[in-house]
């Protein structure tokens, strides 16, 4: 029987024809209308209106200024422009000022810019596209009758929420401010902590529709210049319509988007950003996103908190070690339980084995199904309690965990020991300080549960080896993910599983800051 009656060439040609009809161009109609500014105000107003439409709230006004010698037109978009600023700093000075000028219209915009209006951030342009973009960003535009250039004046209305406590990265002894949706505020919070000219802010605009401002931050002389070149290249390569937030940007610039592990860190804490920058890492901030992106990172960064550097070294080391153990516990306790119950009984003491067996009597499912159902059930409870608004979420969480759990044991659907094991696994997951590692932990847990159900301890060990291999294969902007453990760097280990005293942490990690490793100078010598 002949299954394929069309030759591959014909199929290829047809596909080509089909894709040929699709408009693959990234250019939008509004962007295609690039042209110079008209010499008359009415023509300019008309053109802008035709591009932006009437629904956007375009405000246009014509005024006779400079002793009625010149006719000017001002346009801005209501709601996103600071109207008070436009009237008090632009229109009022224009109407009130009388300056003798006899040079005709040549140089009038420069004169207005330098001597009349009170707005510092201005620019002159002859391109209509600049006008449209500036209007959409909240600027006001000044046209003069008879000349084909215009003045753009920064007058955006800034509505910021106040700086609040970081809700997702709570610390006990650290600072209590967090990033907001305003890029300028976020940059201020960082430069307040690092007031040095070596701190660089490089600006990019990403997103064909969103025109999102993105800033790359690093400290010259400390950060690895190859990593900076690399991230700069990756940001410039991005060609996307809308940047929804730092998450989208992170996925587009990170090393291994398909990996289970994230090779970057997201934080809402400016102190974490400042500390990372001083360690030789770089940061990326994005407008409208209250999170910052930090890279290159290593796996051990997931267990660091700012509290580690506020507490005494022994206390910090103990807690950091506990967080690492929590990670190991969260991914291994359920699979180990399953292996011990289903395959490798020899390790379970007889008394405990009897208890487990009694608890399981009457349970209709095999252990692997029991563990998988319960693990997934807790994920559902978590999602439900997160999505339900207000305090009802906590109520639903508690209700589901206590009442349903107890009822399920009483009804004989699951055994009590499985509930304990899965609950410990989930509690351990939340003891890890990094939010980006949460779903990774759960997925690794499922992977190991399945392997454990198939092969017992043999499966778990194989799974762990595969995950370890995957982790060692990863790199974050040239830095191996498990560094400084693999490849080994004894200096870096002082701030990895433990936190050595600050006096001992004299050097930065070699691969993060290869050109300037000195953190503490020994002044006694």
């Amino acid at each position: 029987m002949k299954i394929f009656n069309k030759s591959p060439k014909i199929i290829k040609r047809r596909k080509k024809r089909q894709t040929g009809n699709v408009n693959n161009s990234a250019q939008l109609p509004s962007q295609e209308q690039e042209r110079n500014i008209f010499p008359t105000i009415d023509e300019n107003f008309g053109f802008i209106n035709s591009i932006l439409g009437s629904g956007i709230g375009l405000v246009r006004g014509k005024y006779c200024i400079l002793d009625n010698k010149v006719q000017a037109g001002i346009a801005y978009i209501d709601n996103i422009t600071d109207k008070k600023l436009v009237s008090s700093q632009i229109i009022e000075p224009l109407l009130k000022t009388n300056i003798d000028f006899n040079d005709g219209l040549d140089g009038i915009l420069e004169l207005i810019q330098s001597r009349i209006i009170y707005v510092p951030d201005t620019k002159i342009s002859s391109q209509m596209k600049d006008m449209i973009d500036s209007l959409l960003n909240g600027s006001a535009v000044l046209f003069i009758e008879g000349i084909n250039t215009a003045l753009v004046m920064e007058s955006r209305k800034i509505e910021n929420r106040p700086i609040e406590k970081p809700s997702n990265e709570v610390v006990v002894l650290g600072s209590l401010d967090s990033l907001t949706e305003s890029l300028d505020t976020n940059c201020n919070l960082i430069s307040k902590r690092l007031p040095t000219p070596d701190l660089h802010f490089e600006i990019f605009t990403v997103g064909r529709l969103s025109h999102t401002t993105v800033k790359l931050l690093w400290i010259e002389g400390i950060a690895n210049i190859n990593a900076i070149k690399d991230v700069r290249k990756r940001i410039r390569k991005i060609d996307i319509d809308v940047v929804d937030g730092i998450g989208v940007l992170s996925e587009l610039i990170e090393d291994s988007p398909l990996s289970l592990f994230t090779t970057y860190k997201q934080t809402q804490r400016p102190d974490v950003l400042a500390k990372s920058l001083s360690d030789g890492q770089f940061a990326v901030l994005c407008d409208n996103s209250p999170y910052g992106f930090i890279a290159p990172i290593t796996f051990w960064d997931n267990f660091r908190t700012m509290d580690d550097y506020s507490d005494k070294p022994f206390g910090s080391s103990y807690l950091r070690f506990a967080r690492c153990m929590a990670f190991i516990l969260s991914i291994t306790i359920s699979p180990l339980y399953l292996a011990f119950v289903a395959y490798n009984h020899s390790i379970v003491p007889p008394v405990l084995a009897m208890n487990i067996a009694e608890g399981r009597s009457g349970v209709p499912f095999p252990s692997i199904i029991e563990v998988l159902i319960l693990s997934f059930g807790i994920t559902l409870i978590r999602e439900a309690s997160l999505r339900i608004p207000g305090s009802i979420g906590y109520f639903i969480g508690a209700l589901a965990a206590i009442v349903i759990g107890q009822a399920a044991v009483s009804a004989g659907y699951v055994s009590a020991s499985v509930i304990i094991v899965v609950a410990v696994s989930y509690i351990s997951t939340y003891a890890i300080s990094s939010n980006t590692l949460l779903s990774t932990t759960r997925l690794i847990d499922y992977f190991l549960i399945v392997l454990s159900g198939m092969f017992g301890m043999f499966g778990i060990i194989n799974g762990i080896v595969i995950i370890a291999w995957h982790a060692v294969s990863l790199e974050s902007f040239g830095v191996p993910y498990l560094y400084p453990l693999v490849p080994f760097d004894s200096e870096g280990l002082k701030d990895t599983l433990i936190r050595a005293p600050i006096r001992v942490l004299k050097k930065r990690m070699g691969l993060l800051a290869p050109i300037n490793r000195v953190r503490i100078n020994d002044k006694d010598k």
Binding site: G456, M457, F458, I466, W469, V486, P487
Partner: protein, 367 residues
């Protein structure tokens, strides 16, 4: 794809460390009859005996940077000699892998997975090797770094728990209850077994920066391996008595079964077994890598993934066919006693001759 890879000092030390502890983890009992209570000392001395050969490889490798021993053979002795030697090398690697895989699978079957068909376990182990080799060799070296350290800690942690109570000095003293001839026989046997390390060194020499200068790396790896392995044999003997230790297979796991602390801590053989599994994963991948590298060289690095697939099949099928601990044990003993070390010495001699021929050719060119 591995052209730019460079191993670090720790990677070379730990790769050599784990490449020594392959089949000798199972077949060291073969020499017990000859060495008696001194088996741990014979293990120590036997492993140390391969140091000169490994340093030899490092010096030979210096003359052909970023090349394997087979590249050296080809430049001096020609393609056909190289193909002939490479084919024997491939078969030895496959044979060693088959023996190891069978012994490990049988251990797993005896203690933990009685109902799982052996071919499933073998397939899992080989697939993992293929997975690791399909990535960068640097990643595999990093993995070995982790597994070697974890495996060692894991092994000795279990035994540390029972150190005073189950450790019988009367089982290991007097140390020399054997003849000198028997002891030397044991040392030579262990050297033959440990020379599996040289199989790997011959191909990874190209990733070691400036090998002649860094020969101490491999010396450190071999010495640490000798200490650790001798300590493991000593613990097993001290826990089980030399008479029992030489009669049973899987000494480490069996010794761990004796551990009972109170009513709650038991069954620690499960964790000791993890170390055996780490060794098996690393070693089978290493054997596969050696055979694969040589076969790629024969075919001028064309279609490397196809070669990897064929190599894995060539390990899998004989392993399933053999399917016996005893046969695998005798195969490993035979290879350790008569084949591996003599063959490797032959390759090293040929490589040295090849370098001399190359130097002579260069010298005869008029300036």
């Amino acid at each position: 794809m591995d052209g730019t890879a460079r191993f670090t000092r720790e990677q070379v030390i730990l790769l050599s460390f784990i490449s020594i502890i392959g089949n000798i983890a199972y077949i060291y009992t073969w020499m017990d009859e000859d060495t008696g209570r001194a088996s741990w000392l014979a293990s120590f001395a036997g492993i140390l005996l391969i140091i000169p050969f490994s340093v030899w490889i490092f010096h030979v490798g210096e003359s052909y940077p970023e090349g394997t021993i087979f590249d050296i053979l080809e430049t001096g002795l020609g393609k056909f000699v190289n193909i002939f030697i490479s084919l024997i090398y491939i078969f030895i690697n496959i044979a060693v892998a088959v023996a190891h895989l069978n012994m490990f699978t049988e251990m797993l079957k005896v203690f933990f997975l009685q109902y799982t068909p052996p071919w499933v376990i073998m397939a899992c182990m080989i697939l993992m090797g293929v997975l690791f080799l399909s990535g960068k060799i640097q990643s595999f070296a990093r993995l070995v770094e982790i597994l070697a350290v974890l495996g060692t800690i894991n092994y000795f942690m279990s035994f540390m728990l029972i150190f005073p109570s189950n450790f019988h000095l009367e089982y290991i003293i007097p140390v020399f209850d054997t003849s000198l001839y028997g002891f030397i026989k044991g040392v030579v046997f262990m050297a033959g077994g440990a020379s599996e390390c040289l199989l790997l060194l011959m191909v990874i020499i190209r990733f070691i920066p400036d090998p002649a200068r860094h020969f101490t790396w491999i010396v450190k790896g071999i010495v640490s391996s000798a200490i650790i392995f001798a300590a493991a044999v000593l613990i097993i003997t001290a826990m089980m008595s030399p008479e029992l230790a030489k009669r049973i297979a899987f000494g480490g796991v069996n010794a761990a079964r004796l551990i009972h602390i109170g009513e709650f801590i038991q069954g620690l053989e499960l964790f000791v077994f993890a170390t055996y599994q780490f060794i098996a994963i690393c070693k089978i991948t290493m054997y596969m890598y050696c055979a694969w590298t040589a076969s790629k060289k024969i075919f001028n690095n064309k279609k490397p993934l196809l070669h990897l697939f064929i190599t894995s099949i060539m390990i899998f099928l004989p392993s399933v066919w053999l399917n016996s601990y005893n046969k695998a044990y005798y195969l490993a003993v035979f290879l350790a006693e008569y084949i591996i070390l003599p063959f490797l010495i032959l390759i090293l001699l040929l490589a040295s001759i090849s370098i001399m021929i190359k130097n002579n050719r260069r010298g005869s060119v008029p300036e």
